[in-house]
């Protein structure tokens, strides 16, 4: 009797060990299978994100409001039609103060019809409603992700799907984003949106697929006025446009009081721009 029990228990023990081994290896293959979902297949080679530091400068004296950048961005990145923009152009019209009002200038009128992309080929921006002699200033401002040093959107992402890459680009991992839109709310610049097709958050990626191939971002490439200047702080050469831009201009960022430390620097910005 006792013997039997002994034999049975040792058998049991062996069976248990075997089952354990089997489940262990099964678990390993299962884990590998689960994780292949996350593994990329087409990694471009020869780009080391730790060796670059990208930034964008915008010379606001130069923007002519043609909307090519916003249009090119949509084409380059497959952004859906409708109110979804990774970059867009705003027009500011600052009227003269009403006589005797004691103000320095009138209330700014801002618009950005279709993000500045012309619908019929001419211009997206209609004639201002004000007569010409009542307008003090009028100018265009291109907007995009401000590449914050302290990005509020990254701070609030619950899963780590949006992040600041070592090269300074603030990116979104479309395979990992859960689409909670917290980052959309947190971005002070309105640069983010929920893509209605993929249901994930989306924003300017600095055309990451281009800059890693030594191309300029699409908006910079297409800009006819050199209003957008793009460069790599870690690899500045002597006559780098960025260097020239720095020497020539005093720069400003958008909403500096929020402490986001943007790396999109504007020259010749007006106080009304935010």
């Amino acid at each position: 009797m006792k013997n039997q029990i002994n034999r049975r228990s040792s058998l049991l023990r062996m069976g248990g060990a075997l089952a354990g081994l089997l489940t262990l290896s099964a678990a390993k293959t299962a884990k590998a299978a689960v994780q292949t979902v996350f593994v990329s297949t087409s990694a471009p080679k020869g780009y080391d994100p730790t060796k670059h530091k990208w930034l964008m400068c915008i010379d606001d004296n130069k923007c002519i409001g043609c909307g090519l950048c916003a249009e090119a961005c949509k084409k380059e990145n497959g952004v859906p039609e409708g109110p979804y923009f990774r970059t867009w152009i705003e027009r500011y019209i600052i009227p003269k103060p009403k006589p005797g009002s004691g103000e320095t200038r009138g209330e700014a009128i801002v618009d950005s019809p279709n993000g500045g992309i012309p619908k019929g080929g001419v211009s997206a921006f209609p004639e201002p409603t004000l007569p010409k002699d009542q307008i003090e200033h009028a100018f265009f401002v291109p907007k995009l992700c401000n590449l914050c040093e302290n990005p509020p959107c990254v701070q609030v992402c619950p899963v780590g799907a949006t992040f600041k890459a070592p090269d300074g680009a603030v990116l979104i991992d479309p395979k990992y984003c859960i689409g909670c839109a917290f980052c959309v709310q947190a971005c002070p610049y309105g640069a983010r949106f929920l893509n209605p097709v993929t249901k994930t958050a989306e924003k300017c990626s600095l055309c990451y697929h281009r800059i890693t191939r030594n191309l300029k971002p699409a908006c910079v490439e297409i800009c006819p006025a050199e209003a957008r200047i793009f460069g790599d702080l870690n690899n500045l050469h002597a006559d780098d446009p960025i260097q020239k831009f720095y020497e020539k201009n005093r720069v400003q960022v958008l909403k500096p009081h929020l402490g986001t430390e943007p790396r999109v620097l504007y020259a010749a910005l007006d106080k009304e721009v935010r």
């Binding site: 799907a161 395979k175 297409i222």
Partner: protein
């Protein structure tokens, strides 16, 4: 084993708690992507994935190979800052295979940049199309050398 005996209900709860925490860590080892944390609190592989998208615009440089004459002409005149694809549209496919021609460029897109608008900077030469000489811009301006006429 223990120096004191745990009351049965506490013991049971400790077991349940251990099971929950344990299964959390097992799940974690399965579900955290392998490259997570490579550079920071995100999937390191995402960088390469985002970069693996194919570019759409070919860029000015890539036209140099076959159209260097035009690039030269362009660079010498007022349109030097313009990109070919700003007027000709996306031409990547054409660059790879010249038989696929880019969309034919007409004069109409000239006014996209040159139509007078108050908000445009004054350095840009602007015209009021109605009052200008005529609607067919290329009749009087060479698009690649706009100050010259054909």
């Amino acid at each position: 084993m223990l120096p004191f005996k745990l009351p049965p209900q506490i013991l049971r709860l400790v077991l349940v708690a251990m099971a929950i925490v344990g299964s959390y860590f097992v799940a974690r080892s399965f579900l955290v992507p392998p490259s997570f944390g490579q550079y920071g609190w995100y999937r390191g592989a995402a960088l390469a994935e985002i970069a693996s998208r194919e570019p759409v615009f070919a860029g000015k440089q890539s036209c140099d190979e076959c159209h260097s004459d035009i690039l030269h002409k362009l660079a010498k005149d007022a349109h030097k800052t313009l990109s070919c694809e700003g007027c000709h549209g996306v031409s990547r496919e054409h660059g790879n295979n010249p038989d696929i021609l880019p969309v034919k460029s007409t004069g109409s897109h000239c006014i996209r940049c040159h139509e007078a608008n108050l908000a445009r900077p004054t350095w840009l030469k602007q015209i009021v199309v109605k009052d200008h000489y005529g609607p067919k811009c290329t009749e009087c301006h060479l698009p690649h050398q706009p100050t010259k006429s054909p």
